[in-house]
């Protein structure tokens, strides 16, 4: 109820498919001119140096310096020759529009090659997407919990104060962007001003906390000290020191 999580998540469901993003590394083969006999000889020589290294590696043909190569037939031939040498060709990059067309006919995909190409493409389209308007500053929203906060529960007031009418058990966590008010005993952890508000304070009827934190500065129960007031206290930051003071 307080955590707002759904228990329905515990029931496993079987999805028919999943789509996930994936990045991987491919090899780019830079051609200079048409793939003639000399090219294949040089390629053979290179592959023989590391016989297994390129086996079935995904490979892209870079056509930046291969201007004449713009017929589907040429690309089909080249692809067949490369695949015969166990190179898994799947696309081209840096091609002219004619080469891209030829690649599509040859069953290869045309990849945008590198950063320069991407920028060129944007400028060619002539319009950059408008930057999204800055989100309106959110209204502060306080959160009131009228039950004890139990061990294992986390209550988070992300845009304001958190008020707990009841105790916060050991093993529970109360977190707020603003102040935390506990009308009961604080036995768990309380973290106020978590977005960096160092003027946030923690108030509680009885203090038995595992951890107290304001704007990231914290003290654990171990270093609270025996002379720390334990009833009707406030906790606040004074400079870099977390002070615990009786309200009486």
């Amino acid at each position: 109820m307080q955590s707002g999580k759904s228990a329905a998540q515990t029931v496993a469901t079987v999805k028919p498919l999943q789509i996930r993003g994936r990045t991987f590394t491919a090899i780019a083969l830079h051609l200079s001119g048409r793939p003639d006999r000399a090219f294949f000889e040089a390629l053979e020589a290179r592959l023989n140096q590391t016989p297994l290294f390129f086996d079935n590696a995904p490979l892209v043909i870079d056509l930046e310096q291969a201007e004449g190569l713009d017929r589907a037939q040429d690309l089909l031939h080249l692809t067949a020759e490369l695949r015969r040498r166990k190179l898994s060709v799947f696309g081209i990059q840096s091609g002219t529009p004619a080469q891209a067309q030829a690649a599509a006919e040859a069953g290869l995909i045309s990849l945008p090659g590198g950063r320069d190409a991407a920028l060129e493409r944007v400028s060619r389209q002539g319009s950059r997407p408008e930057p999204a308007p800055a989100p309106a500053p959110k209204e502060p929203a306080n959160r009131l919990i009228a039950q004890p906060v139990r061990s294992g529960q986390t209550v988070f007031a992300d845009r304001g104060d958190l008020i707990v009418v009841g105790s916060v058990s050991s093993g529970a966590e109360v977190i707020a962007a603003g102040n935390i008010h506990i009308y009961g005993r604080l036995r768990g952890r309380a973290l106020a001003g978590v977005n960096g508000d160092d003027s946030a304070r923690i108030f509680c009827h009885a203090l038995d906390a595992e951890l107290l934190a304001i704007a990231g500065l914290y003290r654990t129960s171990e270093n609270l000290g025996a002379d720390t007031p334990r009833h009707y206290v406030q906790v606040y930051l004074q400079g870099e020191v977390l002070r615990i003071e009786s309200l009486k």
């Binding site: 228990a7 139990r150 061990s151």
Partner: protein
């Protein structure tokens, strides 16, 4: 209208199964038709504590999976007219429990029984979650000891958020009450054990009963007799009182019912647990 009561604790070994058996028997003694279900799949204990382990043919999992009818799996108690046990499987694990399966069985039991007592396994995983999921009320079994109290607190949080009633979101909640077991007044007074007040202050739920630490509990378990059938023992009396409160009677809380009759030497020597 029938009620589903889960007996739960989080921590193991605090007396959930003993309490389930005693509460089930106590309800049946009062004339309520009662079924006790063992949710501890794989660690079948309830049937032993209730003394019917040699009569188990079909179990809860068989019923969930449609291999047996509910009537075939329910075991009628030989001592009490209104008491039935639905044992669990020793050979399966908790994955055999499904939300839909548990709902189906509970719905069927609700048609016939006044009270359905669900004996939860320890922990807060699948078995414990499903045992509490459809409950109307909860009996949280706690020992007067810090780790048990903290685990009970965790379970209370789950009862407030991960049950069918809580998920309705209309403010309804599982009514949870505390059953403090293995309580030893002498040790509590000495400060060796937490006091009733300390436990209540942390858990902040109504107290259903205090069961004194007693040799009769272990003896009853070994004999396969629910403790509440032993009306002479302090623990049996305490369970009978707790069951009375569970059905809504006002019964004065006695830390150790029947304590007045202790002999001079017993008083002189203190209580031996």
């Amino acid at each position: 209208m029938s009620k589903v009561i889960v007996v739960t604790s989080g921590k193991g070994g605090v007396g959930k199964t003993t309490s389930s058996a005693a509460i089930g028997a106590g309800l049946a003694m009062r004339g309520h038709k009662t079924a006790v279900i063992d949710f501890d799949v794989g660690l079948r204990n309830l049937d032993m504590i209730m003394g019917c382990e040699r009569r188990v043919v079909f179990d809860f999992i068989n019923v969930i999976q449609g291999d047996a009818k509910l009537k075939q799996a329910l075991i009628k108690d030989r001592r009490l007219e209104n008491l039935y046990v639905l044992p669990t499987s020793q050979t399966r694990d908790k994955d055999a429990l499904t939300k839909e399966g548990v709902k189906k069985v509970l719905d069927e039991l609700r048609e016939e029984f006044d009270y359905i007592v669900c004996d939860s396994p320890a922990g807060i995983e699948r078995g414990a979650h499903l045992a509490m999921y459809y409950a109307d009320e909860a009996v949280v079994v706690t020992n007067p000891e810090v780790s048990s109290v903290r685990d009970s607190d965790r379970v209370l949080g789950l009862l407030n958020s991960k049950t069918a009633l809580a998920e309705k979101g209309d403010g309804s909640a599982v009514k949870a009450q505390l059953l403090l077991t293995r309580f030893d007044q002498t040790r509590s007074a000495n400060g060796d054990m937490m006091s009733v007040e300390d436990v209540l202050e942390i858990l902040a739920i109504p107290l259903l009963g205090i069961i004194p630490e007693s040799t009769s509990v272990l003896k009853a378990s070994n004999e396969g007799t629910p403790v509440s059938l032993d009306e002479k023992s302090p623990a049996g009396k305490a369970y009978i009182d707790a069951v009375g409160r569970l059905v809504g009677e006002q019964i004065e809380m006695r830390v150790n019912p029947g304590d007045q009759r202790r002999g001079f030497f017993q008083r002189l020597l203190g209580r031996t647990a």
